[in-house]
């Protein structure tokens, strides 16, 4: 089965294959690949995420497919007294692929165990969000060669960020020097770090050395502790820091942003965060293309 649950299902070769397919789609005239014609995607979102949902929706539509959007299942009649497993088995009858967003870690794996159609993990709580990590990596790939040594700063709340954890897993496959830049209360979990990583209290320590700055969103609403809140407030990038950065550095952010990424940087050609969002559409098209237009997808089956 072709479920896509984790970045662990990829290696360097399958990523290269997926990115080659992504570029093929990117450069073809619109409407060239109608491989999902007559196919139906169900976006099954137990917590709303209009942004992610819309990106998958558009990707499916561009390949000729249709989309059933179920947002905020927890308030809908789908979940009334029904287990995730039952809901999946019902929606699998109506769909050719299901993108599942769910607050519980491991929910995508539970869904995959009972589904007769491919499950794509669209975020399972503190677990994974593999397509976000892949679109981040694709953005780096578009501007920097992954075959050469790279230097990348991950900045901000590195403790809670699912996005940055999955991206880091992918970056470990390549020759990348990692700079971990965060306040003391927001350090990357030790099990994800390696001895050659460089730790910084703020971006001044490495901004001039890196090829990529990857900012994370500060989710203030989730932080109760006043001391921690003060550490992370205004912990961001600035015009002054951008002036210290390399002319070919690229600046990324998964969006939406709060104060950590001022809008005055939007005009800087090194700012790639809106392009990054657009790359999500392309990578997700490549994923659906893998499912509907190829004998087997490029990623490994779930073990």
């Amino acid at each position: 089965m072709s479920h896509l649950l984790s970045v662990d299902q990829f290696d360097i070769q399958s990523i290269a294959d997926l990115f080659a397919l992504t570029e093929k789609i990117e450069t073809a005239p619109r409407g060239t690949y109608k491989v999902a014609s007559s196919s139906v995607l169900t976006n099954l979102f137990y917590e709303p995420s209009t942004r992610t949902s819309s990106s998958f929706h558009s990707a499916m539509a561009r390949l000729g497919g249709s989309v059933i959007s179920i947002n905020d299942v927890s308030f809908s009649s789908v979940s009334k007294g029904e287990t995730l497993e039952d809901t999946i088995q019902v929606m699998a009858q109506y769909s050719d692929v299901i993108v599942l967003r769910h607050p519980d870690k491991g929910s995508a794996a539970r869904a995959a165990r009972v589904s007769k159609v491919p499950i794509i993990n669209g975020g399972d709580g503190v677990g994974e969000h593999p397509t976000q990590a892949l679109l981040d990596l694709y953005t780096i790939h578009k501007h920097k060669s992954l075959d050469q040594p790279l230097s990348i700063a991950l900045v901000g709340d590195l403790k809670h960020g699912r996005t940055v954890h999955s991206l880091l897993k992918l970056l470990r496959m390549y020759d990348v020097q990692i700079h971990l830049v965060s306040p003391p209360g927001f350090l990357m979990p030790p099990e994800l770090t390696q001895t050659q990583d460089v730790w910084h209290r703020d971006l001044h320590g490495c901004i001039q050395d890196v090829d990529v700055v990857y900012m994370t969103r500060v989710q203030k609403e989730r932080i109760q502790d006043a001391t921690l809140l003060q550490q992370i407030s205004n912990y961001g990038i600035s015009l002054e820091l951008m002036q210290l950065a390399r002319p070919d550095m690229i600046l990324m952010h998964p969006l939406p942003r709060v104060d950590e990424l001022p809008t005055c940087l939007d005009a800087d050609p090194r700012s790639k965060y809106f392009e990054q969002t657009g790359n999500g559409l392309l990578v997700r098209q490549a994923i659906f293309y893998s499912l509907f237009g190829m004998p087997i997808p490029c990623w490994r089956p779930v073990s």
Copy 2:
């Protein structure tokens, strides 16, 4: 006009025609019948039912059509100070067919009187839900010949179940021995019963004799009376009862289930409730095919 409001619009011949069309669609390669291309369905749901809405949505998409989903109209701007008749006349301007779900019995007939496009009754309160009854019958037809004598047990809350009432109407057209299995507070309404029906207090009385067991969902949230609630709680099927049943019996349930249908039965090949859900997609495709791909649909006009 081609409104589909009630199972009363069908007879044995038109059901045979609809099921022949359903099987034609079931066995054809995906994308063979694009008869709804450029057509628009509006799912107009005055009470949310994501499951029914998704099934109609997918059926329309599989035939090449598009879908406008309006869920929970009562909270939407559609209904603001507007009668059902006005809303229908507006939405009929934008649509080629409307599936209406509404809490009031007779609402689908009211809609049909003013609509310039076909209305499909997707459930009108305690009234009817004809496509559900048709998909139930199609599931029986797939596993048992409707041309031979059959024995069918209807189990659970037979008093309030719109689903089971409509199905019973259809079953009366065939040579079917009906077993009515319910606690005393949940009996089938007398006007729907016939003298040759057999009544049981529980499934032990007939499980070994029947070709089909049709379970109903217990809607505990609608039951106020403690005595009644106790009667119906745990009134279901079990592994032990399944061992008494025939090897070629089929077990059905409209889903979602609560306690009356334990998940340990899912692996039993006689359990057909997920297939039943999938048959809903097929029957609804046949209904849309009747509307968009044929000169006239197989069901009788509304009288």
Copy 3:
């Protein structure tokens, strides 16, 4: 860029071009023009308007395109701590055109400044709603020649009605005698009036003279003052007034209606309000056709 923000972007010639295209679409067999195939519309509605949203949705679907529906953004995850400008830049990555509905006047212009895809103003508070004015004018055009002198009564709350303000701007391009019919507390703003306009306290003053009666909806819920509320209550058209009107007069209303337009008039062949709603679908198809099927749209660029 091809943004459509205001009726000011049109002149007599471009309106004639748009209406010629509208008639071409109206008379062609369904599915003739699939110019939006593989294209994606995002309906980005910061306040819900299922009616407007559905009309644009159906227009896009009829031309072969797909639709992402985001209703009530204010409660969705799209807007969480995010500016309109950021949301637009993200959704523009996923879409080929965005219809924006927003409570703030000028919001569509703000969106257009940052969007890489066309923005269609679907109503910006007390600002404009240009496609509504165009469909109103198209309805007049279908029944009355805009090349001849016309006499038109605008009736009801002329003070707050965005719809009637935009329509009036368009009517000024033609040889039209305007009758302004409203209670004293609901007068047309002076800056929109001209000296040759005729003012009336009620329809009796002009009903026998006019080619078109354009009723407005009374939004009682927005009126606090009891005196004003009394002025506008029951300020509508009636069977008796219709008997005084010309046999070839046409009666229009943007819907939904409240008491000002009794349902007993629906059977009168002069009542065109449901057709008017249907014309919205046609005009919006012509607008999307202009964007996806022609080298440049017929309206002027935003200055």
